[in-house]
């Protein structure tokens, strides 16, 4: 692969540089693969994107070097920030007043995931700090994957909605704790209790950026229509600026975006209508994020000990999520069956997890490196398998607008809507 790339680089001199051409072709392939996967298997497009990224990563594609830095890191942060801003806007705080059991479900599944994964890795001989770091990363479910699955399957309903909210909350906890913990790594192996101050610092700084973002947007929405294209561009640009600045000040870019979405929903209770306007720009950014995650994650080293650790982590994480959601299910307004599907729909682990691992690597190459060895394969596995599990969960919960029926050429029995 590298030889081919070298020959190619000698042969053409594109105006925007070879990496731009490589990424453009990769994204084109991912778009086609996503469409074909969705059309012929009924599975979400994200699986096609991840498959192309994985193939490129395994083939030695050098467009995304690990650890992430520069433009690659910024694009990933921006993609995550856009998704989390939208996900944060789905969380009205008043819901927790009317239904505190949702918060109980969230805290239970995240806590159980942390302790479950930590216990297993400790049992399998993983070093304490590494096990603890991985346990924090494992808390984060992926609202990015889940929202793409929901869009592709046209799912809506209590399971979809609750899984999205719980995924977003788990991401909020993981982002806060991991950012603070990563900041402590260079100072030695401090315990979780010593990270309280850094947690407050990360959270505080992110809240400040989030508040500025939310206030500016609320002001803009007083004079601009939420359905206008310009409002969508304004929103994207402000999130990009926030993402670039938040980390610089010691906060977390995705966390600031998530909190910004939540704050804006409180300050401006009007309907959230701009995601539709963001349309293709946002979708391309999200696709880029999935391809980038799988390209990077595929570069991981798959040995037998790593494989068993990854499999163990994935299984315990899933059990913990289902158990946690079920633990707080009584009185939460959903049935036991729905609680089970909510837990399953929270399986995906993707871009946020990669960002968190990236933070660990940047903070301490030795500990971060050990974390990445196990986390990267787990992320890759759960980006694809998690998407499949989430799809099955949403179908089994009866929340997809049509039964699962892959389109077979010439066998269509009704109108097909492109999406």
């Amino acid at each position: 692969m590298n030889e081919i790339m070298a020959i190619w680089a000698e042969w053409i001199k594109p105006s925007a540089g070879l990496p731009t051409v490589q990424w453009s072709i990769l994204l084109a392939l991912a778009a086609a693969a996503g469409h074909l996967v969705n059309r012929y298997t009924g599975l979400p497009k994200v699986i096609g994107y991840s498959a192309v990224g994985t193939f490129a990563g395994l083939a030695g594609f050098t467009g995304a070097a690990w650890p992430l830095q520069g433009t690659g890191l910024f694009l990933l942060e921006l993609g995550v920030a856009v998704v989390l801003f939208e996900a944060g806007g789905r969380i009205p705080l008043r819901w927790f007043r009317h239904n505190p059991m949702v918060l109980v479900q969230s805290l239970a599944e995240s806590t159980l995931t942390y302790f479950g994964v930590y216990w297993l890795l400790d049992l399998m001989g993983v070093h304490g700090v590494v096990a603890e770091s991985l346990a924090l990363v494992a808390m984060a479910a992926s609202p990015a994957v889940l929202s793409r699955v929901a869009i592709d399957t046209r799912a809506a309903g209590p399971v979809t909605e609750r899984a999205l909210v719980l995924s977003t909350l788990s991401t909020l906890y993981a982002l806060t704790l991991c950012s603070a913990r990563a900041g402590m790594l260079p100072r030695g192996e401090a315990g979780l209790s010593d990270t309280l101050l850094p947690v407050l610092v990360v959270l505080g700084l992110s809240v400040v950026v989030a508040a500025v973002l939310a206030l500016v947007l609320r002001t803009a929405l007083r004079v601009m229509s939420p359905t206008s294209e310009n409002t969508a561009i304004l929103l994207l640009s402000l999130i990009a600026a926030g993402a670039a600045l938040a980390s610089n000040f010691g906060g977390s870019a995705p966390l600031a975006a998530l909190l910004g979405g939540m704050l804006l929903k409180q300050l401006n209770p009007r309907p959230w209508s701009w995601p539709r306007q963001m349309g293709t720009a946002s979708s391309m950014l999200t696709m880029l994020m999935f391809v980038l995650v799988s390209v990077v994650a595929a570069q991981a080293d798959w040995s037998r000990p790593v494989a068993s650790l990854v499999m163990g982590l994935v299984v315990v994480r899933m059990i913990a999520k289902v158990a946690g959601v079920s633990l707080g299910n009584a009185g939460s307004g959903t049935s036991w069956r729905q609680g089970l599907w909510v837990g399953c729909a929270m399986s995906p682990m993707s871009s946020v997890a990669l960002l968190l691992v990236s933070q660990y690597v940047a903070a301490s190459s030795s500990i971060g490196g050990q974390v990445a060895v196990i986390a990267l394969p787990a992320i890759l596995l759960m980006e694809m398998l998690g998407a499949v599990l989430a799809t099955v969960a949403l179908y089994r919960a009866g929340e997809c607008s049509r039964p699962w029926s892959p389109v077979v050429r010439g066998a269509s029995t009704g109108p097909v809507h492109e999406s």
């Binding site: 806007g89 789905r90 009205p92 008043r94 819901w95 009317h98 239904n99 046209r154 809506a156 309903g157 209590p158 909605e161 229509s225 939420p226 359905t227 929903k265 409180q266 209770p269 009007r270 309907p271 959230w272 209508s273 307004g333 959903t334 049935s335 009866g398 929340e399 607008s401 809507h417």
Partner: protein
Amino acid sequence: MSLEPFQKSSALSLGVELEMQLVNTHDYDLAPYAEDMLRLMSKIALPGAVVPEMTSSMIEVSTGICHSSAEVLGQLTQIRDALVKSADKLNIAVVGGGTHPFQQWHERRIYDKPRFRELSELYGYLSKQFTIFGQHVHIGCPDADTALLTLHRMSRYIPHFIALSASSPYVQGQDTAFDSARLNSVFAFPLSGRAPFALTWDEFTVYFNKMAHTGVVKSMKDFYWDIRPKPEFGTIEIRVFDTPLTIERATALAGYVQSLGSWFMNDQPFMPTEDDYLVYTYNRFQACRFGLDAVYVDPATGGHMPLREHILMTMAQIERHAHRLDASASIHLLRTSVERNDNDARWLRERQGEERLLAEVIRQAADRFRGGVDHEPGGFS
């Protein structure tokens, strides 16, 4: 299957059914939460019933047997408060209105119940387009013949009911220019429209048996008439109302029906004739299209007059009955709204004119339905 006997009921007793919209609190589109709402509502002791409707974003609530509009309001208040409480728990909102302004019919899901699946198979896409929301008012009749006589007398006032309750100007994101576009969806069904002109139960039974013999109908449920007899309850059921945006207006409409019924049963003011139906469809169209600004053609005289004037004239005629039935407040509420030329369709259009965002109009309509329940100024997000 033969027609079941007409049960006895207390004359002028009332029952109100409201089909409600369930919307999410994110973009305020319809949300498939019927099953979850039914589960939560079943845990609250309430008068009447809560049942599923054709598609999974709808729910139907009904009062028990009431004898006055005050009693209707009392029961609807209890039900409304329970609906709001359950919706808050699920992070959704409950809204009135005859249509959801921007929902896409093809995204709807048929509620999983044998009858709805059968109807869906028979009517195809019409069943999903039946995601429309109406108010039904039952009025008790002492016997079957009185029921049919009252039914046909009441049919002269169908335009009144439509104009007063109209709350469905928007369909699929567009202003239809109708005040009640909902009834256009009902008209697509083959057994919709007016009931056959039969003034005695014997005549009606002959008609029903002939229809049953053709195999087209099995029970009274298969008729989607604007007004139909409901023999198992001993009532007639008026079905042309759009679901209003508030329970107060729903109650007032029930009070208006009850007062009209009292006028018909006690004063016998006129005898209905088959010729009444010559202008029936035209009057119905006028009311759907123009609401309170419609023209009303008097079936008896053929004279044309503004519907608004005819409604006010009727209200004067039934005032005595309304007073006797303790329904004066209902008539007052409706009269004020007619004098201000104001119905729910107009409110929706005004909000849309202001907001330029139908989702925001729905949010404000949901806020309006909540009434005094845990009302949060500035909206409820």
